[in-house]
Amino acid sequence: MKLFEYEAKSIAQNLGINTPKGAIASTSEEARDIHKRIGGEAVIKAQVLVAGRGKAGGIKFASKPDETRDRANEILSMTIKGEKVKKVLVEQKASAKKELFASIVLDRANRCQTVLASDQGGIDIEDVARQTPEKVLRHRLDPVFGMRSYDARLIALKLGYEGIQQSTFSDFLSNLYRLSVIYDAELVESNPVIESKDGRFVAADLRVIVDDNSLFRHPEFQERSKEISGEVTALESKARDNGLAFVELDGDIGIIGNGAGLVMATLDLVKQYGGKPANFCDVGGGANAEHVATALQLIQGAEKVRAVFVNILAGITRCDEVAKGIVDVKKVMGLKKPLVIRMVGTNQEEGRRILKSAGLTAMDKMDEAARLAVSKVGA
């Protein structure tokens, strides 16, 4: 679950991490008042969960409160990559002696957390990593003992810090690490970290992604994860509420399958044969009729969908349940889009009998079924 910048910063402040002076505003008037209160030059930042708000014009500067009101007004009327801007963060623009980059990520290959840090902050760190990999320092953390003060200090040292600044920056890193532990963050990233002229380190921007699987031990986020849908489309949100693993795509062939790998392979096949998948939808292992029916209803209900391809390899899942789900939809609301079914495995005969009784048939091979589904949209 991605946190909004202002949420991440609020958490960070409580852990003793410096952030720029500022506050969150839902209206342009609030934004103006905040600027009045904090003084100096202000930066107004769209609070969205999608990446790339800067390029999209979601970050603006203003030297006077009235100007801040106008800029906030502009940003609050924006939609960035499909996400409506509802709030802006108004902050004092920090004067930087230096801009750095610091993040703590899950390091899959090494099965630990790894710190990435660079003194080339404020710009796209992936570009830096690609063009000048030696500018991005990587430091692995012990999976059990985490970041010790000497880990943090060594990173600070390699970024060129000595004496008191070495301690100050390593304390800053240690606090980012504590944040990652306390909030089960799969990513904590500050870009830029600003070294101010008086030697403080300030998280001018802060991204935090909380591990979805840890939400059971973070009751403070459970409600929030349902409320805020900026990260997902309306259809995704609805599907996920119904227990489906669902990702909306921009094609026209709706896909339903069981098992993440199988569904991914189904998308690949459809694409291979020239089709465009409208979604990824995994009904999961052991899905029952109701599950399948919900998925089918949702997908055939989407306007852009012009055909639906159901691909089931039944193991724990049973073909008869899948068939029942499909037939239920047919009976209750009718099949609104051309439907191709591939269904093999557990209780295959019973499943096919149920389909047949409703005038439907299932195919054996996913390749052939995929080809047929693509042909339904005339590709």
């Binding site: 990446a51 899950l106 899959r108 290959a109 099965r111 630990c112 957390q113 992936e126 012990d142 999976p143 059990v144 532990v181 089960d184 799969e186 591990d211 979805d212 699987n213 840890s214 059971f216 031990r217 693993a245 990702v247 795509l249 399958g257 069981n258 098992g259 993440a260 790998g261 199988l262 569904v263 991914m264 392979a265 998308l267 690949d268 096949l269 459809v270 694409k271 291979q272 998948p277 990824f280 995994d282 292992g285 390899l313 039944a314 193991g315 724990i316 093999v344 495995g345 557990t346 091979k365 996913m366 390749d367």
Partner: protein, 289 residues
């Protein structure tokens, strides 16, 4: 893993636990005992149930474990199995917090235990025993070792191999999570030393670098057995989790195309679609290198 395996089922009294214990027994797997806290003294699917792994081992003899307990308790269940000296520990449970898995995997590593999973369909020694939730009937004994990051896709591919007359030695899921106990490199090492395996099939997917690491290992060690692979997710957009916690392209890292290229460059037979795998294996009978 095989006839000598005697397993403890942790979380045996749950729906999944009891259902799959029955199927594992049907397949011929030896299940020594089940463990469910607070249910000691009962039986489930005919298997005696104990409160802890340690107390189970005072009364029975086991050397492996399969875990079905809910995600919040999985880390400790894994530690409990490791403390009792069980290995492999197969963790079927999905949605375990990454931090928990990370710590558990380190715990296993420093204590010399093998973890398969989490979020795995398990492992099957075809025709002998299975510790997992895979349907036994899609497999047939043979000489192909198969390792995968996904469940159903594994069954799909195993079934297609079986259909073409290509049998399997051992098939296992390394797990769909970002952190897994065994990765492809570990599995390649195991298959290298397995006299029953001629060919290794890897079924990868987007996210992480397990496939690239496998490719580097194959290339650097001049891997002595034939390897074929399929990587799912060429149609997946970046930044979106495709069902598995681990299946996500971050930035420009972890794309299917990059993985396929790495594998091809290492001399691996790479299928464009799942159904191409058996064809590749039938065309290329002898080891590549």
């Amino acid at each position: 893993m095989g006839k000598q395996t005697r397993a403890i089922v942790q979380g045996i009294t749950g729906n999944q636990g009891s259902f799959h214990t029955r199927l594992m027994l049907d397949y011929g797997t030896k299940i020594a005992a089940g463990v469910t806290p607070g249910k000691g003294g009962t039986t489930s699917v005919g298997v005696p149930v104990f409160d802890t792994v340690a107390s189970a081992l005072e009364r029975t003899d086991a050397n492996a474990s399969i875990i079905f307990v809910p995600a919040p308790f999985a880390k400790e269940a894994g530690m409990e199995a490791i403390d009792a000296g069980l290995s492999p520990v197969v963790i079927i449970t999905e949605m375990i917090p990454a931090r928990d898995s990370m710590i558990l995997i380190e715990y296993a590593r420093t204590r010399g235990a093998a973890i398969i999973g989490p979020n795995t369909p398990g492992i099957i020694t075809v025709g002998e025993a299975k510790l997992g939730i895979m349907p036994g009937d899609v497999f047939k004994p043979g000489r192909v070792g198969l390792a995968s990051r996904s469940g159903t896709l594994t069954y799909e591919i195993a079934a297609s191999l079986t259909h073409e007359g290509i049998g399997q030695s051992t098939c296992l899921g390394i797990g769909g999570d970002p952190f897994t106990g065994l990765n492809f490199v570990d599995v390649l090492k195991l298959f290298r030393d397995d006299p029953g395996t001629d060919t290794v099939v890897l079924i990868g997917e987007i996210g992480g670098s397990a496939e690239e690491d496998a490719a580097a290992y194959i290339r650097d060690t001049k891997y002595p057995k034939r390897v074929a692979a399929y990587v799912a997710g060429r149609a997946a957009p970046p930044g979106k989790r495709m069902g598995h916690a681990g299946a996500i392209i971050t930035g420009t890292e972890g794309t299917a195309d990059a993985k396929m290229k790495s594998l091809r460059d290492a001399g691996v037979l790479v299928a464009e679609v799942p159904s191409e795998l058996p064809r590749l294996l039938l065309q290329q009978v002898s080891p590549l290198q």
